[in-house]
Structure formats: structure tokens, C-alpha cells
Assembly symmetry: C2
């Protein structure tokens, strides 16, 4: 089952069921995705039974599937990326057996085609292509094994980042605020079964195709996470109850062979250049640049649809 | 004007106007504080004109004035506390001229008399008494001077902290997730004018009386913040629009003469012991312990009411 949210002038939009062709939809039996996830086990069968797809979707009317959430916790679960970024930022992190995770802003997720507004190009504007899951209510102390069943929907996220601010904020120990502005979200939230065999061990085993100004920049696969999403959910829930609609992210999708397949963010490319060439060669994004992200399976199907955002001056 | 929220079985509760005696209230013209703050300039005069106070408040029915918020950003604006904690945690932070701030969980604020649930005493259970402000919508890039006008309400917060987890999470650079579980909030949100001369330069110049198991533990004043709340709001809004209802915190209230007047958290007391005695003597909280917090002016008036929470096993 694929879900989308259409702009209707309200902050949470109108939830729709999306046809297999991705171009048609029908109103859901509840108004919003937040309402659906709060009573998922009752609502999901009703949604799945919605079989009529009368309305053409206007891509410009598509909001983020969850246009705002009560909580957004983003991991950094791809070790290929994390190890490289630590070296480049000059951060020495203690080696631990727990996931890395920060709390980010969740009051807005940008529509998949929305411009991303930033005050200055000097801040090191960067995209981060990643996957995320949306859970129903998860009680404090839930184990990773039990957390798997709380993963109700999977999404694709562009975690906009301002790299000039990121290093200094990390060094405070307080984590990121200014360096992590509002994220974007691809059009469709999908149930795990929609991914078939490509949802394995709590990982989204799809290639995330990232194009920057029309040029292929990365095609990393979501499989090699050091922790599955169920483990990230359990980590998040260790000392708090997670409210229904909490979004948990994977961090930038990254594979060890990033020199061949590319990266899901500019910072990683620059990090490779620092290691290989002694200094970064690739500049961060400029106003007017755009990034396109689409996760595809072996047959070229894109379950989450296309995110395509342009960078503009705020 | 003082506002409170009464539990009515909904997540956002029922907004009421509180009489000067603090014991009576009348229903507000909008249902929730979130609705009020989203259209504050129109709603506030209606709320202020509500002059009838027919109903006794049942303290057990009082929720946090904002039982959940779209965003909670907590500063650390008291240098007496920050400098001490850095030394104790072994963190060397670069000296900067910008405030310290992290993003915390905002999907729930506990009621002023609610038990606080934690999985284990081994996690270093601690309270943090602080002040916070609630803003209306603040556009990205708003200056500190302009931010002052966006501060519509002031609140008193207990930022529960798990100290055993705090140091390791800081060292990752990602900030706190597990170390910062759900906060509590004192009963009343007040407009700045309600504090009179005790709202000065964006600071809440009241003594925060903190009692642990019935013993006075701290009485620090909110005045000596290195940054006023208007500056914290501007910092938060540098690269993002702040949605109406965003809560911005001061961090633990702390004064340089903490050896005389005490502290607003156990960690600070332990830090003083480390400095003075070579090791911490005061244990963190145990299950069954309680903490009471009440900010008072020179005449003993407590504009935010009393927060009184007990620590229990989750």
C-alpha cells in the first residue's frame, strides 16, 4: 500500500491511497496520515481495501506524506559515511556498540518538489539522501525484535544540511540545530510489504539514485546499515515512549565502494577528495542548483516516487 | 494574564484563563494553547477580556500549559553552570559567541504533578529547573531585537536528565537523545507583563526554589543569563522558520554563588563536590524521590505555580 498527502490548505493535508501506477489516488477513510498512524491496526485494513482510484494526482499538489511530525530522530547507520565524515570533520568519536542519533526539527517536512530556502551560500548547503520509517506508538524499553512490528511505513527523505555550521555545532556536544534545517520527503509512504524482498532485516535494499543539476551523483544501496531500523527504533525508545507518527531516519545512504558508485551528499564526496587529493574539490550547492532523488529496485520501479528540490535564497 | 490547560481526555487538553488567585479558571475562547499561539495577536485580547472565574481548579486535572509542542529547543545560557559541567564531563568546548542549544523531544510535556518514569536508577536520574518561552511564528533570520516581540508566553520547566548517558552522547557530537527524556512543565504559562519588572532584557528575574525530598536544594535567580531569551530565539531562527508554539528553554538556572544558594540540578551540586572535594558525594535520584520547583518574586508570589514530580520505575 502506498500513501500520499495532498495539499488542501491545512498543515496536515489530505491523506490519499495511491494506485499502483502512482498517478491516481483516492481519498483515505481518515483525513491525515497522523490520524491513521495513531490507530493504524484499525485503519490500515480500511485503507488497503480502498480499490478505486478515480483522481489524477497533480504532482504540484503533493505534500510530504507526513507534512509535520511530533518527532524526528535521525540515525547515522552507514559506517562507510560515518567513518569518512569523522576524519574530515576532525571528530574523534568513541567506538560504541550503540547507534548514533540526533533529534531534528519535525514541525515541517517539505513537499517533494518544494524549493529549499537558505539564508546564504556560505553555509555549505548540502543534501543528504536517506530512508526513514514511521512507527506507531512504541512503549519505552521496547526491544529491537519487538520494534520491527511497530514499523508501519517507510519513507525517503532529503535531510538538508549546512556543513559550515555542522562541525562547530558537533564540537559543542549539543548536536545540530542551525546545521539541520527543514527536511524534504519523497511523495509516497509505503508499507513494508510494498518493498517485497527489498525490505530485509530492517533495511531498505534499494539503490538511491541522486542527481545534482541533472548529473548522476550517487547510486548507493540502502542495505549495508550497521543497525537495522528496528534497532534504531529500540535505541530511540530506551528512555522515552515514542508517540505514533515518530519518524526515524537512517542517515545518509552510503556504501563502502563510494568511489565507484558515488555519494548521497556532497560532504561525502568532499571527504573522499580530502583523503585522495588532500583537499576538497567539489563545491557545495549554489542558489539555483537542484537535486533529484529516486530509490529504485532492480526493475527500475520507484516505490517512493521522485523528490526534486531546488535551492533558493530565503 | 495566566493560562493553564486542563486534562479533558484529548492530547492538547482544554485551555483556561486563570484567576489572580490561581485557584479558579474560566474556559478560554479557543480550545487549546496551540490554537491560541497560532493566532495570538487576535486571540490574546479576547483571552485577556475573560473576567469571570467560576470554576475551582482541581490540581490533579492540570496538564502542562502546552501538553505537546511542535518544537522544543533548549539553551544552556547560564555560564556558571556550563563552565562547571564542562569541567566535570571532561568536555572541552570551543569558546564561541553564540548560544549553546539542543533540540529535545517535544511530543509530550508532563503535567506539573505527574510521576516521571525511568527504566533504571543506574542512569543517573536528575532534574533541571529552568525557564522557557513560547513564541508565535518567527520567520527565519529574525533579529534578536525583533525576536523579543515574538515571545508571547513564559513557562517554568523541569528538564529531566539521565546523567550516565549524557557524557557519552555529548562525545558523539550528535547531542542528547536517550539522556533527555520527557520534560515536565509548571501549571501556568504567563504573558511577560505578568512578571512586571521581573521580566528584564529577556530574562526571568525570579528565584527558582528547588526542593528535593522536602529539603531546599537551590534558589538560583534567572537573571544572570549570558544570552536573553530574545537572543536564544534569534539563534534558533537563523536557518529555519520557527512554528508558532515553539518552546525555547534557558537551560538549568544557575548563579555564580551556587555554593551559597544551591543548584537547580544534582549534577551541578556533584560538580561542585568534584571541584571542592575531589569526588562527587551527592547521589542522583532514587525511585520514590520527589522534586518540587516554584519560582517566586520578592513578595513570595509564584506566577507559574508549583511543579512537584516523583520519580518512579517505568
Amino acid at each position: 500500500m502506498r500513501l500520499a498527502t495532498l495539499n488542501n490548505g491545512t498543515p496536515d493535508g489530505r491523506l490519499v491511497i495511491v494506485a499502483p501506477d502512482g498517478g491516481h489516488s483516492a481519498n483515505a477513510s481518515v483525513q491525515t496520515l497522523q490520524q491513521a498512524i495513531e490507530q493504524w491496526d484499525m485503519v490500515a485494513p480500511q485503507l488497503a481495501a480502498t480499490a478505486v482510484f478515480p483522481d489524477m494526482i497533480d504532482p504540484a499538489a503533493v505534500a510530504a506524506p507526513l507534512p509535520r511530525a511530533w518527532q524526528w530522530l535521525d540515525g547515522s547507520a552507514f559506517p562507510a559515511h560515518g567513518d569518512l565524515m569523522d576524519a574530515v570533520l576532525g571528530i574523534t568519536k568513541p567506538k560504541t556498540d550503540v547507534p548514533l542519533m540526533y533529534q531534528g526539527m519535525s514541525d515541517t517536512f517539505l513537499s517533494p518538489l518544494a524549493d529549499a530556502r537558505f539564508p546564504s551560500e556560505e553555509l555549505g548547503i548540502d543534501f543528504e539522501g536517506e530512508f526513514g520509517v514511521i512507527v506507531d506508538a512504541v512503549p519505552m524499553g521496547t526491544s529491537a525484535a519487538d520494534a520491527m512490528g511497530h514499523i508501519k511505513l517507510i519513507v525517503q527523505i532529503n535531510d538538508w544540511s549546512l556543513r559550515t555550521l555542522a562541525g562547530p555545532e558537533m564540537k559543542t556536544g549539543f548536536g545540530w540545530v542551525q546545521a539541520k534545517p527543514v527536511c524534504g520527503m519523497a511523495p509516497f509512504a509505503v508499507t513494508p510489504d510494498e518493498l517485497g524482498d527489498n525490505w530485509r532485516d530492517g533495511r531498505v535494499c534499494l539503490d538511491l539514485l541522486v542527481d545534482w543539476n541533472g548529473q548522476r551523483f550517487g547510486a548507493a544501496n540502502g542495505a549495508p546499515m550497521a543497525f537495522g531500523f528496528h534497532e534504531l527504533v529500540a535505541h530511540a525508545a530506551r528512555t522515552r515512549d515514542l508517540v505514533a507518527g515518530t519518524v526515524i531516519g537512517s542517515g545518509t545512504v552510503s556504501n563502502a565502494n563510494f568511489r565507484e558508485i558515488g555519494s548521497s551528499c556532497v560532504a561525502e564526496r568532499r571527504g573522499i577528495e580530502v583523503v585522495d587529493l588532500g583537499e576538497p574539490k567539489t563545491a557545495f550547492m549554489a542558489f539555483g542548483d537542484d537535486v533529484r532523488m529516486e530509490a529504485v529496485d532492480g526493475a527500475g520501479h520507484a516505490p517512493f516516487g521522485v523528490l526534486h528540490q531546488r535551492v533558493v535564497r530565503a
